[in-house]
């Protein structure tokens, strides 16, 4: 991925990128490829080294990593801190899960991933449009409160769906079908999630370099300044929010496939906090940081469960230390920069 800092110095056709900014760009590209490559080969190497039990964890890394990347687009590049993105995980889980649940008893039900997943993204985009338009009427800390409130509202809504087990949720016992690929095979399902993650990383890298992405980033730096050169910033922020929502919803649809279990728990507000937590651990404003954060947290959690039942307590303590000391996250340390949200 090229760094966003490839500017007007690349005006002349055929001219090589300039050295300034170029090194950072190459490092960020190398880091992205390296992280994705490590995740991609991990399922093949964990078994021989005795960590075979982490296979489903890696699938969750790919899924929640995608959600974190999508969240980073608005948090890291837009400066819009959403504490409500778990609602989109829930929306994706219920949108695709309900289609699957009714297979055989409703005409509109389907187990086809090519219908269910885009449908989930559409639902997520529409919800993102509605909630985003409302939340963007406020700024900064109010934006956090409003997104959190909408998260809670949707959480209660999912809890009240008695037809789907209410707060207990419901077992689906199957995954979607994707053409000739057998998603019931865990290895295959991992690679499908992984491919979608790569797609998401590429797509959001395109967005941060797009005209709309530039305005989004400019508004993060100084919104009034951005408006004073003519940008209708809220429109671009809403577009970013919708994009982000759609991909988090896709992650939700994948998550319900992974567990084959549909329950409101996935949309609990602490899940929104954990997505942010992944961002800060991995590095805010670097896209691939979300994947790093998801990987570090989920794998550590899986390993730690064998030793302590109080994992969350130590994560909380570690989070406070990270906020106080290492503001750039892991990607920031590797890339030698600090975030400027």
């Amino acid at each position: 991925m090229a760094d966003p800092g490839a500017g007007i110095t690349t005006v002349q056709a055929g001219e090589e990128p300039p050295p300034i900014g170029g090194r950072r760009m190459r490092r960020s590209f190398v880091l992205t490829v390296a992280v994705l490559a490590i995740l991609g080969v991990s399922p093949l190497i964990i078994e021989p080294i005795g960590f075979g039990y982490l296979e489903s964890t890696l699938t969750r890394v790919a899924i929640l990593g995608m959600a974190a990347v999508a969240l980073d687009y608005i948090v890291g590049y837009g400066g819009l801190i959403s504490l409500g993105h778990a609602l989109f995980l829930g929306a994706g889980a219920y949108a695709s899960g309900i289609l699957l649940f009714h297979l055989g008893d409703r005409a509109w039900a389907t187990d086809q991933a090519l219908i269910a997943w885009p449908f989930a993204m559409l639902v997520g985009a529409l919800l993102g449009w509605g909630f985003g338009a409302l939340a963007l009427r406020t700024k900064s800390v109010y934006f956090i409160m409003v997104t959190l409130a909408f998260n809670q509202m949707m959480f209660f809504l999912f809890n009240s769906l008695e037809a789907y087990g209410g707060d207990d949720g419901v077992r689906l016992g199957a995954r979607n079908r994707l053409g000739p690929l057998s998603l019931e095979d865990d290895r295959m399902f991992f690679y499908v999630c992984f491919a979608l993650l790569v797609l998401a990383v590429v797509w959001f890298n395109i967005l941060i370099r797009s005209p709309s992405g530039w305005i989004l980033r400019g508004a993060r730096d100084n919104e009034l300044r951005m408006r004073s050169v003519g940008a209708v910033t809220r429109r671009h922020q809403l577009a970013a929010f919708v994009m982000s929502s759609a991909f988090v919803t896709l992650a939700g649809a994948l998550a319900v496939n992974e567990t084959q279990f549909m329950s409101p728990g996935i949309s609990h507000w602490t899940q929104s906090g954990e997505l942010l937590l992944m961002l800060i651990v991995g590095g805010v404003g670097s896209l691939v940081g979300g994947v790093i954060g998801a990987g570090v947290l989920l794998v550590l959690e899986e390993i730690a469960i064998g030793y302590t039942s109080d994992w969350a307590f130590y994560v909380g303590a570690a989070l406070i230390v990270i906020v106080m000391l290492a503001r750039g996250g892991i990607a920031g340390v590797i890339l030698g920069r600090h975030r400027n949200v």
């Binding site: 801190i81 009427r137 800390v141 109010y142 209660f156 507000w269 307590f313 994560v315 906020v323």
Partner: protein, 305 residues
Amino acid sequence: MELFFEQTLNGLQAGFTLLMISSGLTLIFGMMGVLNLAHGSLFMIGAFVGADVLARTGSFEIALLAGVIGATIAGILMETVVIRWLYHRDHLDQVLATFGLVLMANQGVQMLWGSQPRTISRPGWLEGALPVLPGLQYPIYRIAIMVGGLLTMVILWLLIERTRVGMWIKAGQTHRELLGALGVNVTILFTGVFAIGAALAGFAGVVAAPYLTVESGMGDNFLILSFVVIVIGGIGSLKGAVAGSLVIGLVGAWGQTYLPRLLTNFTDPSAAAAIGSSVASASIYLVMAAVLIFRPEGLFGGARG
């Protein structure tokens, strides 16, 4: 008519409980500019300490005192160890660090008291009901909550409007940099305000516990409702917190009763009950959405930064 009156009282009682949490939150936020996600944890800590002491002593009054003290100590610890260092940080840092506190608190109460839910029962002398209207008996305890909430708010109001400390607090809401110039020890003042907010939350935690289950995460929903209160009422003013809390309490209570009934006109009763309960829980958020559309700065808010 009795039903309407009863639901209105229920709504007011819920509103007063919420007010004890949101007033502290709005004071802290207005003064220090810190968004504290762990404010709901103080409510929970108050309830847990109260339940523990109640089990040991059998006295609700001692439990209430212990809950308030426990939450206050927890609050002072939070402020001095973590939150004090966040005043000049951006909102993302504040959200994440206080989210870390939430994780620690939610797990910490389980480490201390186990994962078994606990209960707090009403004190004996507040058992029973009073006739508030001909044909309507209303639980004394709920009335006591309202009276207690009202008294607390009056005391808080007097503290802010009539004392020197209150003057500093008000000055801090608008001109934080002025406090230092006045010779006020800002560090102690901030810790003090935080302790007041924590005490209020702990008080609410014990008092509301008879209607709740004392368990990990029990404060989260109250935290989020307090945010809704702040968005509706506007930041920094007690007036906004009062208005927002009562609106939320009443809308929640009325919605739960009347929305399912309204829906029976359109669909069969069981479906109406199912849909109604979800719509009712959404109704307070719809009020918030309406405020965002028509008055994004909140009912009593000034300009938002």
